[in-house]
């Protein structure tokens, strides 16, 4: 069976773009990816795409061209982009098609996400009484983790400080001004122990990727990258997830643990081979917990790693080199593909001021979201 290569990447800057719909941002990213691969829309044999709040991806054909291409909509919450990518990967692996596109985009209103208890399989009182907020879940999960493993608020602030620093080096990021650790710690408390600077915000943006059979990749680019592993998991029994009126006393692993393990096994490489990683940082605490859940360190080791700068761009394992969700915001349908886009830029050596030094060769992504889903990838050059 053939390997799968990524030969084209495109992005619409993240943040707020008034007057441009989420779909239009998706079209922008798609056109940029086509141009990057030096092909035309008519060359695309299939596409997967989705958004959570900005419409159906397949309607993009009216802008991109009515070629009759099979364009499948993907709707999988925060893993929408990851699921589109995984679907594209499987489609090429199966031999059905040789070249296709995965695209994710979104545009959310300002402020926290509105939650609908009944759509989430919950009773109305849960939302009515003020328990159904993602921000509470993140506060409570890291609160317990800090208690169990000795992580401090200082570490939470270091994660956010790094995100803003990296975002300041990324022209496509939303938040491009550094924020000091002190300002982060003294920022308005949103859900203890997390201040407003430690949270990402719903936002806008789009990413498109062109994938093809590895054996034809050199037709499109001199620097093909290879998608070596990609896996998706939903929550196992005992995981601590958002919107849970109750939890099992016996704690179990998160969906991330299973997705990470499957991805590494599929790629046939070990954690030591990873040169940089993009890990879901819905808030600072998430990045810290995800470092361990993805197997990059033991629980509790993050405190020293952060104090030592290990996850900075010039550290031992750079994490969220484009500023992550904290600096880019969270357009749900696009976030997972943004991570892959950033890894492609880094592995091409084209990341400019935020370039990870020493020619990184292998990069990892991890996306996580409600109601307990996780998708990971490993890309090599």
């Amino acid at each position: 069976m053939t390997d799968v290569a990524i030969v084209g990447i495109g992005i619409h800057p993240f943040g707020r773009t008034d007057g441009v719909s989420g779909l239009q941002q998706g079209v922008h990213a798609a056109k940029e990816a086509l141009s990057d691969a030096e092909i035309e829309w008519k060359d695309i044999e299939f596409a997967y795409g989705g958004s959570s709040a900005a419409g159906s991806a397949d309607t993009m054909v009216s802008e991109l061209g009515l070629t009759g291409v099979p364009f499948m909509n993907v709707s999988n919450g925060c893993a929408t982009g990851g699921s589109a990518l995984l679907s594209a990967y499987t489609t090429i692996k199966s031999g059905q098609f040789d070249i296709g596109m995965a695209v994710g985009f979104d545009k959310h209103p300002r402020g926290a996400f509105n939650a609908d208890p009944e759509a989430a399989g919950l009773q109305k009182w849960y939302g009515e009484t003020g328990l159904m907020l993602t921000t509470q879940f993140f506060g409570m999960k890291i609160q317990r983790y800090m208690h169990d493993y000795g992580i401090t608020s200082d570490a939470l602030a270091l994660v956010a400080e790094k995100a803003f620093n990296n975002g300041s080096l990324n022209p496509n990021a939303w938040r491009r001004d550094p924020v000091s650790k002190e300002d982060i710690l003294n920022g308005m408390m949103v859900s203890d122990p997390l201040t407003k600077f430690m949270f990402c915000s719903p936002a806008e943006g789009a990413v498109a990727l062109i994938l093809c059979r590895a054996d034809i990749a050199s037709k499109f680019t001199t620097k093909p990258l290879y998608l070596k592993g990609a896996a998706f998991r939903s929550r196992p029994l005992g995981s601590f997830e958002v919107f849970s009126p109750s939890l099992e006393i016996e704690r179990g692993p998160s969906p991330t643990v299973g997705a990470a393990k499957a991805t590494f096994e599929m790629a046939g490489i070990s954690h030591e081979d990873i040169d940089l990683a993009q890990l879901q940082d819905t808030e600072s605490g998430a990045e810290i917990m995800h470092m361990a859940e993805n197997g990059f360190c033991k629980d509790g080791d993050q405190e020293k790693m952060l104090q030592d700068g290990d996850t900075n761009i010039d550290g031992k394992l750079p994490v969220n080199t484009d500023g992550g969700c904290i600096a880019n915001g969270e357009p749900v349908g696009a976030s997972g593909l943004r991570q892959v886009y950033e890894n492609c830029v880094q592995l091409r050596g084209a990341a400019g001021k935020r370039q990870v030094p020493n020619n990184p060769k292998t990069a990892y992504t991890h996306v996580y979201g409600a109601p307990g889903i996780s998708a990971c990838t490993i890309i090599t050059n």
């Binding site: 926290a112 939302g127 009484t129 907020l133 609160q143 203890d192 109750s246 939890l247 006393i249």
Partner: protein, 136 residues
């Protein structure tokens, strides 16, 4: 005094001198659920009204819909939320009352209380469950 009623049916025993949360137990696996599940292999159970605080946070901004408290953002009073581990049963998510959030500590002993929340259109006071620090 206005009429009071639970915000939802089958959430806690009411009226009662010693109210309890209503959960269910899977008769095949022995696992507890809250709120109770309707299933032919679930039996309704009254959950323990005492437990330990497992984790907590504070809701510091006025939630959007479906939150039903009618209040201006500047008048909103932050409230604490946490999970209470009911020994041998399950952990339930709940508001935490009767304590300054600064005093909250993981592991502290908590007990169930029923609290007035908001009035509905008929003027009835809706009751919710919450946990407060145990007195002894």
């Amino acid at each position: 005094m206005s009429t009071q009623k639970p915000i939802a049916d089958n959430l806690f025993t009411w009226p009662s001198d010693s109210p309890k949360l209503i959960g269910s137990k899977d008769t095949e696996t022995g696992r507890y659920f809250f709120p109770a599940k309707n299933s032919n292999h679930h039996e309704k159970v009254e959950l323990s009204n005492k437990g330990k605080l497992w984790t907590w946070t504070v809701q510091r901004f006025l939630p959007k819909t479906p939150y039903i408290e009618q209040v201006a953002p500047e008048d909103f009073k932050p409230y604490a939320v946490g999970y209470i581990e009911l020994p041998g049963e399950i952990m339930v998510e709940s508001r935490l009352v009767g304590i300054d959030p600064k005093e909250l500590e993981i592991g502290m002993e908590m007990e169930l209380t029923i609290e007035p929340f908001v009035k509905n259109e008929e003027g009835e006071e809706l009751l919710i469950f919450a946990f407060k620090p145990s007195v002894n």
